[in-house]
Symmetry: C3
Subunit: 354 residues, 3 copies
Amino acid sequence: MEFTVDQIAQMLGGKVKGKGGDKINMLAKIQDAKPGQIAFLANPKYEHYIYSSHASAIIVKKDFLAKKEIDSTLIFVDDPYLSFTKLLEEYHKLISFQKTGIEQPSFIGENCSVGKNIYRGAFSYIGNNVKIGDNVKIYPHVFLGDNVIVADNVILHSNVKLYSDTKIGVNCVIHSGSVIGSDGFGFAPQQDGTYKAIPQMGNVVIEANVTIGANTVIDCATLYGDSTIIRQGVKLDNLIQIAHNVEIGKNTVIAAQTGISGSTLVGENCVIAGQVGVAGHLKIANNTSVGGQTGVSKSIKEEGQRLFGNIAMDIKEYFRSYALFKKLPDINYRLRDLERKVFNISNVEDEESD
Amino acid sequence: MEFTVDQIAQMLGGKVKGKGGDKINMLAKIQDAKPGQIAFLANPKYEHYIYSSHASAIIVKKDFLAKKEIDSTLIFVDDPYLSFTKLLEEYHKLISFQKTGIEQPSFIGENCSVGKNIYRGAFSYIGNNVKIGDNVKIYPHVFLGDNVIVADNVILHSNVKLYSDTKIGVNCVIHSGSVIGSDGFGFAPQQDGTYKAIPQMGNVVIEANVTIGANTVIDCATLYGDSTIIRQGVKLDNLIQIAHNVEIGKNTVIAAQTGISGSTLVGENCVIAGQVGVAGHLKIANNTSVGGQTGVSKSIKEEGQRLFGNIAMDIKEYFRSYALFKKLPDINYRLRDLERKVFNISNVEDEESD
Amino acid sequence: MEFTVDQIAQMLGGKVKGKGGDKINMLAKIQDAKPGQIAFLANPKYEHYIYSSHASAIIVKKDFLAKKEIDSTLIFVDDPYLSFTKLLEEYHKLISFQKTGIEQPSFIGENCSVGKNIYRGAFSYIGNNVKIGDNVKIYPHVFLGDNVIVADNVILHSNVKLYSDTKIGVNCVIHSGSVIGSDGFGFAPQQDGTYKAIPQMGNVVIEANVTIGANTVIDCATLYGDSTIIRQGVKLDNLIQIAHNVEIGKNTVIAAQTGISGSTLVGENCVIAGQVGVAGHLKIANNTSVGGQTGVSKSIKEEGQRLFGNIAMDIKEYFRSYALFKKLPDINYRLRDLERKVFNISNVEDEESD
């Protein structure tokens, strides 16, 4: 990236005070910025940094009034944080989408169709009958099984593994080591104590705008024609387990190391924290919020609840009970004290009655 | 797959009513099936689907009596669900074992022996002195370290990593991203606060008929000559942690994200749910059942127990205690009420005594 | 490895009684050792094994007095266990560092610098502008993104993935499948219920002497110029989640499947057990010890505490409360009994007062 301050101001719809011709090649925090870099000031409590900053340019609010002299050129905008975020995104696009073309050696099977402007890294493997859209980035060591469909603008980081028949929607990003479409964990117990694998023949469908972290696993559905489904806009963190036949509703967010057991349907716009366990064959209502390490063993029917605890309950009630859990030794002591007192009273009564 | 209805009926030992010569190329659910597909009806509550199904053939119970006209050809069998499962398995074998031969580029070291009818995918890596049996499927990006032994009929999905000296028994299936034989987590604390790695020189032995999910990790044993052992018939789900020197008894089933700490011996035919943590150096009796997210910190000596809770206890007792945990605010209130009443009574008594 | 007993004794500073010229090619446990192997006796309760051992040589304490005849040659040392550990380490070095050179095909980008005596396995991928020190071992299927820096003596096992800009210090070991530098889990909620990805542009810095297990994930920091930092001497087990902008203090040890949420600072010399969850934006004091499956939701300010429980508390207090949690049905029964008695007493009083 290299732009002049004027070019950046134009992009942001801002006004320049200072040297509009200076060149900017990097973004930085106001306290760290060096010449050639641009920073921003949004929170007034960081204002003192602006007077000693070495940034070539600093984005400030349009009504900002300097109390001392400032060396840096200023760009005045409506919302400095939003403007900086916009710059960040532009910069990120510039650096993250730079690779295109095919590195060798790479492998592609028969009867595949591949879109325009794609990157296929060295040692990437594409099976038979695979369809790949435009602007797709397939990093080194990615594996696409037979019949996989990958829509436009998808990024598959190094070592993503898509089993046969997996479908990935537009704009999805999947991070390294994630496995999509592995066999569901289905075994039929036999009379001799052994287990027989139930063939897992469905697939996984990931809709548009889904992001999946690193080393997460999503199992395929059991029956042919069925799918484990991740709806559009879902955001999954790292090391998550999604079992067979699960469906995650749109725009639901799930943090790291959480596990959703087989055939459970998670609603839309839920927020599920890390290390949560959800049992199988449940239905979780839309807008449910689940705290870290919670165990959900029953369906949640009412929307908008906030859950917590080993056996999920309302989070406020959990905290009330847990506060008393901590005081159980005291409660036990008080109870013993009462038992003694009541015993004494009864004895006195008995004696009096005698 | 393409068979006539007659051929399928013969395979299942069933009787055909309708067009035995029709061709079948796919299995489907009764409500979704199209011409050219076969479905089944086992549960009477789905019977209404049979009268509008587009399936070319439907497998039904031998005593099935139609209440209306049915377009599909019927195959009468003893147990429609079992028959359908049998077809599923046959179909699964047909589609999942189709690849054989060696894709290039792939890497194989010195002094290896490789059986008949195997598949070695592109970018698979085989070290030195490796022994591979017949009918083994080694998908792309698999890594086999030196001296690894893989028995007949094993399937190693893309990116399975077997460290040196690992042994895999017949008929095992290991899913993508699983790591077998990584170093055990053993460090000796030094006087300056640092830790020194204790060399981990044992290996991992996986016996016959074991299935391992995706992104699971099994560490090697510490001492040379020792093994972390997964006994025959064990089924491990995704993202499981098996530490060094652990032994999992035969036909035990462990669900996703559970962790077994070092040197613990898990018995046979146990069923361990997801996100369970088992501490180190324990012995878990045969037929133990452990609920989700349970923490097991003591050995389980009596067979057949059902455990649950942060510090594992009998599951029924846990639920009884947890029901009261939820009521702790009420218990606390009742206790305070009693304290007040007893205080009043005592005062009355004292006054009376005065 | 093949040494004479005399050579080994010299290495350990020990005295030989027996055949100093015998050749040793392997280490073993005293009860398992065969001719050609060396064992040790440290714990007196294993002494009976020494009289029937087939080991060619056995390391014993300098004041060891045999009660019966011993076939094996003895090496007398100050501390048999330490001596054996020293041998183990030497042996481990010999067998684990044997590979050097470049296997083909492998990929290396432009403008890289590579040190002396390194191993680059087949199918390993090195991006542009990468710097690699001396004696580094890069196993097959490793991925190094652009601008990665790997210092001397680092071992990257098969399939380690380092995103762009990651820095790895001297003597680090990273096991298979671990992902370093994936995007932090940062999304800004939009008014229409969708989420927009916040660009994650920082990196990960791993200092010297760090060991990382298999399939662990460490996310990069959010802002350009910021780093998620793992300080020197840290030991991380398998399947751990380290979120963006976390810092782990030096010599801290974390067991498998634990997750540390974004921006949390973990102190030095902490010991964190498995499946622990630590919430975001916390500060954990030095020397904190955290028990398995604990949920830490508040900063820990006082050093040296031992924590446990769903909502972390002092471990001894937790056990006291949990013991009473198990007795809640009994506590409830006692409470009800008291309520009845007090009710009766009150009635008597009332009657007496009447």
